[in-house]
């Protein structure tokens, strides 16, 4: 064979730095290589008259005819766009300029510089079309939505990592990512048809190249939580005062039986006691030597023998500060990579340790990765991409009134953390309500351990034949996951309501998913203007797993080294469950490109799912076209418009994620809590009983998500400005939903039926600018913009809404999902002011068709006004009285739009970057106010608003209604607009300054490059939201209608967030 060897160096045009990893190919062949770490390359070419193509992400590609030379040095011009970059789409890659579907390409460097621990959190604001809502808790999975909400169930996108589909990238090491694309419309995503309904995020991990390179990155961050009187809580003295005020406002006066308080006496003004337990005691009344308490009691009857002594904390305990402290975050990443003609390799090790600012929360994760590829011969390649992770992630429930986070705003400040004996203090002290000591709650979780392990990746083989026109690839990918752990429930003693059992709980899960994909690709150009690529594929997917767990009660000792399932003497329980489902697909795709001007793409996919019985199979077609106007001869050459492409696409993708595998069948099951019964009167052993557990629907079929997209890509001013914009419309038809059946059908699980419908429309796009201000100073910026407009079209044949999230409004809901409105809309009465005086009430009452205008504000038989100072609700339907028909939509947590702004400067060896993220037009239901702003809600800590800014005759323009002892319909008793706030915010998520040491300096100590940086995250947030943090995370603890399919349909309810901490970080990146 007659080949020649060419060598050379590729450098950056502006910095003269060598560029490692540049792709070099011989035009019209598959021959190619990449530059090594020094930017050098060596390549055998068929002929010295060939032309070389240099492509590299972030640089304009260069086409260089060899013209007989054997040494060629090339300088690449940096740019944020090129169009030549390869974008990994379904089952293959395309040049960006050939894309006809809607795809967001994520700038991985920008993304990974955000000091979050999960890729999905880092993604926030980095890609148009993606909405990410996360919380401050380490390891907490954020809510990721691509172009809105597609179902009442699981809305998480599909992730495809190195060709392997998965729902979970929690443990992916972001340092391993080389590229990330978001496939937003059906034309782009439909090749993943069966699971692409929620959008697809395609991730490729790094490959090695060139000489051995060792990269080491390390950073240390210091996280600082908010501090101070976060919840605006009253001091103990003010709290006591509020009791007196409430009583007086409610008509109770000194001398009445009801007057007084166990702690504050019964005088004209309240007096803080020296001891709160025994309640209201003075220092003389209590002999502290009587104190007796055994925190590790084993018999519930011991509780009544304890003698509690707790001093009042007159300064007030700041429970938030007691729970939260600054915490460290550390990240180490080491990788070794290289490659050459025979293949390439990359090994990496990552250690991540994020301590939570909330005590006893953290994330520790170890990840190792091995990616290798071997060129067995010119036309055969085999390889693998594998990662193994081990993580431990103790957390507490967020947005939850009952956990440590919730108790931090509920426990009264007069209660100290500890009693006189150093044990926990709490609401055992009378008259202080029933919250639990949040520090105790968190502390009792300290020995709990759960370890998650996951092996994820694939092995693949590729063979080219027919002169490399055909490539056959087979890939077996998947994951093997397992986890196990244990927790201990300690008995409580310090609260008004105590758990008195001690219990050890153990649980584990394991399972696997595999995806076996075979693709055959035909890629050929005809006459240099017809480019055809055909892909045929089959894919088989199976998911199988199980859960097992148990508990034991009554331990002789609570020593964590002693407790296990075997060593307790009391009740033992156990459980297990299994699941299994599978998919099979046939896939075809054709891409045709005429002269780089007209681009056509079509996909057809047929999918089968084991979750369906009579309608297993569905067809999913998609097509798209692109027109690069600038390639037309009639288009004037202009530097203003370098490239302009119009795109349009239409397609259908399927969904079956939410369907239970048992959905087709009518089933009966035993349940020891629901269908067992002690029919023999034994008092101890319920007998086996069965009940109908499920109503089957054998006719369920694939849900279809039909989407249309039109878009434009433009490159302006010599590529300095790049614009991408898309308008889309998605309609989910045959939406699988399990509408409630009337109770007369029994209480068995209702089947999923293809009954609902939903629509999303929206606009998303990005603009980026890259330019040199001076030779030494470069500036780049990117703005991403995301919007969606969600509307429910149909829910079921018998109902046009379903309600969720009752919170503390027992029996009524804060969220209503109704036809014509977006998912998770807030619903209730609209507060239009206060009832200021008797005249206002009698006027309203006179016009009411019934006896009263509203049930709890009226003129009574004796002519006295009841309810002055309470909320006045809007009479929405104008019938002269307040009835349930006057409830109205009060907003929704869906933002009008979200946006991200990346700004970057490079000055000589310095780099500076900044990232802002904003969310606009989303409402938050601030349920924390229910607890703190109303005396009549559960007794507990209350806000300064309640005492100082509630309605009085002298303060008619107050914030809160009149301070009274009991709640009522017109205050806190029913969902109303008092709780709804604008949740818009703009946050400076990241600001970073880096310095790359001069190469001459570092090369003397054998280092190729060294960069150091300092960074600050979440420094500044601009918002009108009165709660702790407008980024409230995802509502996980929905207590609403179980038929609504999880939490996707009730979010945006703030019942205690884990706040995002400010973080200060230093780091280095070095490369040998």
């Amino acid at each position: 064979q007659n080949t020649s060897t060419i060598s050379g160096t590729v450098t950056d045009q502006t910095t003269d730095q060598p560029l490692p990893g540049v792709n070099i190919s011989v035009q019209g062949t598959t021959t190619g290589t990449t530059t090594d770490a020094n930017g050098q390359f060596e390549l055998n070419v068929p002929s010295l008259s060939d032309t070389l193509q240099f492509t590299f992400i972030g640089y304009a590609s260069a086409t260089v005819p060899i013209q007989g030379r054997t040494e060629i040095d090339v300088q690449l011009e940096p740019t944020t766009i090129s169009g030549e970059e390869l974008v990994v789409v379904g089952y293959g890659a395309q040049r960006e300029k050939d894309l006809t579907g809607s795809v967001s390409v994520v700038d991985v460097d920008e993304m990974t510089s955000i000091p979050e621990t999960q890729v999905s959190e880092q993604l926030q604001g980095q890609a148009s079309g993606v909405t990410v809502v996360s919380s401050g808790q380490p390891g907490e999975e954020p809510q990721v939505r691509i172009r809105g909400i597609n179902t009442f169930g699981n809305n998480e996108p599909l992730y495809v990592v190195d060709g392997v589909p998965t729902q979970n990238i929690d443990d992916l090491n972001s340092n391993d990512i080389s590229s990330m694309q978001v496939l937003k419309d059906a034309a782009a995503a439909s090749i993943y048809g069966s699971r692409a309904s929620n959008g697809v995020i395609v991730i490729t991990t790094k490959q090695g190249s060139g000489d051995i390179t060792i990269d080491y990155d390390a950073s240390y961050g210091y996280q600082v939580p908010p501090s101070g009187n976060i919840y605006d809580i009253l001091s103990p003295q003010e709290m006591a005062q509020s009791v007196w005020t409430a009583n007086r406002n409610s008509g109770i006066t000194p001398g009445d039986d009801e007057w007084g308080h166990p702690q504050y006496g019964s005088g004209e003004s309240p007096v803080l006691p020296y001891y709160i337990d025994p309640a209201g005691s003075s220092q003389e009344e209590v002999d502290e030597s009587n104190y007796f308490l055994n925190p590790n009691y084993t018999d519930a009857s011991a509780l009544s023998s304890f003698f509690y002594i707790t001093r009042a904390n007159h300064q007030g305990t700041n429970w938030f500060d007691e729970l939260y402290d600054p915490a460290g975050q550390m990240n180490h990443n080491l990788s070794v990579s290289g490659g050459g003609d025979i293949g390439n390799y990359l090994f990496s090790v990552n250690y991540l340790d994020q301590q939570g600012t909330l005590m006893e929360t953290s994330l520790q994760r170890y990840t190792v990765r091995a990616n290798t590829k071997f060129n067995v011969s010119d036309n055969i390649r085999i390889g693998e991409n594998l990662s193994y992770s081990v993580s431990e992630n103790p957390t507490f429930g967020t947005l939850d009134e009952g956990g440590p986070i919730g108790m931090a705003y509920r426990e009264q400040p007069i209660i100290p953390v500890y009693d006189v004996g150093g044990n926990f203090a709490g609401t055992h002290a009378e008259g202080l309500g029933n919250p639990r000591n949040p520090v105790a709650l968190a502390h009792r979780a300290r020995n709990n351990e759960y370890l998650d392990r996951r092996l994820f990746g694939n092995i693949f083989g590729e063979i080219d034949f027919w002169q490399q026109r055909l490539t056959l690839r087979t890939s077996l990918g998947g994951e093997l996951y397992s986890g196990a752990g244990h927790s201990f429930t300690y008995p409580e003693y310090e609260n008004a309501e105590n758990n008195t059992t001690n219990q050890f709980n153990s649980s584990s899960y394991e399972g696997y998913t595999y995806t076996w994909t075979n693709t055959l690709t035909y890629d050929q150009s005809f006459k240099d203007i017809h480019n055809v690529k055909v892909t045929l594929a089959t894919e088989a997917n199976k998911n199988k797993g199980s859960n097992v767990g148990g508990s034991t009660q009554d331990f002789f000792s609570f020593d964590p080294n002693f407790t296990n399932l075997s060593t307790g003497s009391g009740t033992k329980t156990n459980y297990s469950s299994e699941y299994e489902n599978s998919l099979f697909s046939l896939i075809g795709r054709v891409d045709y490109n005429f002269d780089d001007r007209y681009i056509l793409s079509g996909t057809l996919r047929r999918d089968g799912s084991s979750k369906f019985l009579n309608n297993k199979w569905g067809w999913f077609p998609a097509g798209s076209v692109g027109w690069r106007v600038t390639e037309e001869s009639f288009f004037p050459e202009s530097s203003a418009i370098t490239d302009l492409k119009f795109r349009a696409g239409y397609g259908v993708v399927g969904n079956q994620l939410n369907v239970d595998p048992n959905n087709p069948y009518t089933l009966f099951a035993p349940s020891n809590v629901s269908s067992y019964y002690a029919l023999d009167g034994s008092n101890s052993t319920p007998l086996l009983g069965f009940y109908q557990s499920r109503i089957g629907n054998p006719n369920a079929k694939w849900e279809r998500n039909v989407s249309t997209n039109i878009g434009v890509d433009a490159s302006l001013f010599d590529g300095k400005v790049e614009v991408t914009a898309d308008y889309y419309r998605k309609e989910v038809r045959d939406l699988l939903y399990n509408p409630s059946l009337p109770a007369t059908a029994g209480n068995a699980s209702q089947p999923f039926v293809n009954v609902g419908s939903m629509r999303n429309t929206g606009f998303d796009g990005s603009i980026s600018y890259f330019g040199n201000i001076t030779d030494d100073l470069q500036f780049n910026s990117t703005l991403t913009f995301t919007s969606y407009n969600n509307e429910i079209i149909k829910i079921s044949n018998t109902s046009n809404y379903f309600a969720q999230a009752t919170n503390r409004f027992e029996g009524t809901s804060t969220v209503r999902n109704q036809v014509g409105h977006p998912v998770s809309s807030f619903y209730g009465y609209n507060v239009i002011g206060f009832w200021d005086d008797k005249e206002e009430i009698s006027e309203a009452q006179a016009g009411a068709p019934g006896e009263k205008y509203v049930s709890d504000v009226y003129i009574d038989e004796d002519g006295n006004a009841v309810g002055i100072g309470r909320f006045r609700y809007e009479d929405v339907n104008g019938d002269g009285e307040i009835t349930p028909d006057d409830r109205t939509f009060l907003g929704s947590p869906n933002p009008d739009f979200t946006y991200g702004i990346n700004l970057g400067f490079n000055y000589k060896a310095f780099d500076f970057s900044m990232f802002w993220y904003g969310s606009q037009g989303n409402e938050i239901w601030n349920q924390v106010k229910w607890w703190t702003d109303f005396y009549g809600s559960f007794s507990g800590a209350k806000s300064k608003t309640m005492l100082h800014d509630s309605w009085t005759p002298d303060n008619p323009n107050a914030t809160a209604p009149i301070l009274e002892t009991e709640g009522s319909f017109s205050t806190n008793g029913t969902p109303n607009s008092y709780f709804v706030e604008d949740g818009s915010y703009l946050r400076m998520k990241n600001v970073q300054v880096g310095y790359t040491l001069p190469q001459e300096a570092v090369s003397r100590i054998g280092i190729r490059s060294l960069r150091v940086y300092v960074q600050a995250a979440n420094l500044l947030t601009i918002t009108n939201y009165s709660g702790l943090d407008p980024q409230i995370g995802y509502h996980e603890n929905d207590d609403g209608n179980a038929n609504a399919g999880g939490t996707s349909t009730a979010f945006g309810i703030d019942e205690g967030v884990y706040p995002t901490a400010r973080q200060f970080r230093i780091g280095i990146s070095l490369s040998y």
Partner: protein, 604 residues
């Protein structure tokens, strides 16, 4: 394939029918189906709280849907009604599952199948009975129904006859005795059939049937129906399924499930607050109920003017301040029905007053007691697997005293007043004499868990006692509680005397049984006393047509005289509040082509 569940075919045998039947019984407690307390089997909310026996209790912000039931301002969107409806129709559905399975079963004789069907129809009758008296207009679903959007008015709603038919079938086909104590037998069916007659005012059918039951009835275990020796035994797990228990919900103590779902979970809120029971201070008896137990000098009740004097309470008196109990005469059933300061709270010691009350100003000074387990056998009959306890104390849906008092009613209406007096006296006779069983509630009940039993003051003051400890003194025959301070100072101890019980039967010729009207009043009042806090009161008031009169008077007394704001301005609306509203959720769910198939009840 389906994992973890079975197809109905697999159940088509006797074992499967047994298991489905157990499942149909398991819905009696209403747990894990609708709500917890909102759908429970004991009707403490809809029967007792609504009927004025008890406040909701706790504080005003807790469980607000019950507030609306307390003052009769409930509306159709109140989720509690949907929970109750859902749980009872699940019961109907489970009973129907048994009936529809039987034809497919091959290893049972026709006679066996008929007996199983009778048991299932008994249970279905029960679930429908509960629905009927709650909502009145209800759709009928049986084993043949395939369209579940049935209307609740019109022909399908002739439900009394259908409920009667179910109980009649059960009466005709159930055996007298059963292998398991919790099963319905022939006489349980007869009693429930009688109850359906009573609720319809069908006295002519009720009277002979009730007499028959009283004379011949036996429990599922074969014991002849009889009142237990001691009234209090009806509220003790160690006396479950006694001769007085006609049909009961069976509850468990610790049962291996690690939950309290089978352990009278629906009453989990109803324990004294800040007490050894932890939670939650609901279901607090009203002063009105407590006053009802006052007796005149002859030991007889005062249905007309029981509220003329108040049984003294400890409102506004701190637990560490002295308080002496009411000295007037009362019926001993008071202290088996109501927990009040200074009186033994079962065997948990003298009730400490406000320390066990969550919000006295809101819901008064009393606690409910009937469902409370005893300390002596708490490890066996209480269940601590939740934030509030479960108990193994059975709830009698029908107990024999109930049957006797229906019979008394029937005698008043269509029989003889003498017979009515005889039945009432049988019920009163048990409590009129403290020599039955283990006697009345007195200081000796405090003995088992007292700090000490001593014979003198000096012995007492030399004890190492902490505030709250109690001591039984044999010399004074009273209980002493250390209120505060040093035990050595006798002045720090509070002495609690025994309540002043005076109760007797109606003597022959007593004017109460001289006329139909006065006898009716006496019998009705006796039901209040005997069956208080057992989920019956509101339904009794409605069927007697006395709800408006009695409840309005109750609201006036509680709200006006005593100043409980809950009841201020409350009133019972006739032609509306006799029934609860059809749950709005169910109306919404049965809307076909824009037209609801369920019709809302009058006035809602």
């Amino acid at each position: 394939p389906a994992l973890g569940s079975l197809d109905k075919q697999v159940l088509a045998n006797q074992k499967g029918a047994d298991a489905l039947l157990v499942g149909a019984y398991a819905a009696l407690n209403g747990q894990n189906i609708g709500g917890t307390w909102s759908s429970g089997g004991t009707n403490w909310i809809y029967g007792s709280v609504a009927g004025g026996d008890a406040h909701k209790g706790s504080n005003s912000g807790d469980q607000p849907p019950i507030n609306k039931i307390m003052d009769m301002t409930q509306n159709p969107t109140n989720g509690f009604f949907n929970d109750f409806w859902t749980a009872r129709y699940e019961g109907v559905s489970r009973a129907n599952s048994v009936i529809s399975l039987l034809p497919q079963v091959e290893d049972m004789s026709d006679a066996q199948k008929t007996a199983y069907e009778a048991e299932a129809r008994f249970l279905r009758g029960h679930y429908y009975f509960e629905l009927k008296r709650m909502y009145n207009n209800i759709p009928w679903i049986d084993e043949e129904t395939t369209n579940f959007e049935q209307p609740n008015t019109g022909e399908t709603a002739a439900t009394w006859a259908k409920i009667e038919a179910d109980f009649q079938f059960a009466y005709d086909n159930l055996p007298e005795t059963q292998s398991q104590a919790g099963k319905a037998n022939k006489w349980a069916a007869a009693s429930y059939l009688a109850k359906t007659y009573v609720y319809q005012g069908n006295w002519s059918d009720a009277q002979p049937l009730l007499n028959n039951i009283i004379n011949q009835g036996v429990t599922a275990s074969g014991d002849a129906y009889a009142l237990q020796d001691n009234y209090g035994y009806n509220f003790r797990a160690d006396y479950d399924n006694s001769s007085e228990s006609v049909f009961a919900i069976q509850y468990t103590g610790p049962d291996g499930t690690g939950t309290i779902d089978n352990s009278r979970q629906e009453d989990m809120l109803n324990y004294p607050y800040g007490s050894p029971f932890n939670c939650c201070g609901f279901y607090q008896p009203t002063q009105d109920l407590v006053n009802s137990y006052r007796t005149d000098s002859n030991g007889l009740p005062m249905p007309e003017d029981y509220n003329a004097e108040m049984v003294k309470n400890d409102m506004g008196v701190a637990t560490n301040e002295p308080f002496n109990i009411y000295e007037g005469t009362v019926d001993p059933r008071l202290d088996y029905s109501v927990g009040r300061r200074g009186v033994p709270f079962k065997d948990w010691g003298p009730h400490p007053g406000v320390r066990w009350i969550r919000d006295q100003a809101y819901a008064g000074p009393f606690n409910s007691i009937k469902h409370i387990y005893r300390q002596e056998n708490a490890s066996q009959f209480s269940n601590g697997n939740e934030w509030a306890p479960g108990s193994a104390v059975n709830y009698d849906i029908i107990r024999f005293a109930d049957v006797l008092l229906w019979a008394a009613e029937a005698e008043v209406e269509v029989g003889t007043l003498a017979k009515a007096r005889e039945y009432v006296n049988r019920v009163r006779g048990r409590v009129a004499d403290d020599s039955y069983g283990d006697g009345w509630v007195d200081y000796t009940k405090n003995q088992p868990f007292a700090l000490a039993t001593v014979g003198s003051e000096s012995e007492m003051t030399s004890l190492d006692a902490n505030p709250g400890d109690w001591v039984v003194r044999t010399d004074t025959e009273t209980t002493f509680v250390l209120l505060k301070g040093e035990a050595s100072n006798a002045g720090n101890w509070q002495e609690y005397e025994d309540p002043n019980y005076t109760v007797s039967t109606y003597p022959a010729g007593h004017p109460a049984f001289s006329s139909k009207e006065s006898a009716r009043e006496a019998v009705h009042f006796e039901r209040k006393l005997e069956l208080s806090m057992e989920g019956h009161r509101y339904f009794d008031l409605v069927r007697w047509g006395e709800a408006k009169e009695k409840l309005d008077a109750f609201y006036d007394y509680m709200g006006g005289e005593l100043g409980f704001s809950t009841y201020q301005g409350a009133s019972f609306t006739s032609s509306k509040n006799e029934y609860y509203p059809i749950p709005q959720t169910q109306i919404d769910l049965t809307t076909v082509e824009g037209q609801p198939t369920l019709e809302q009840n009058q006035g809602y």
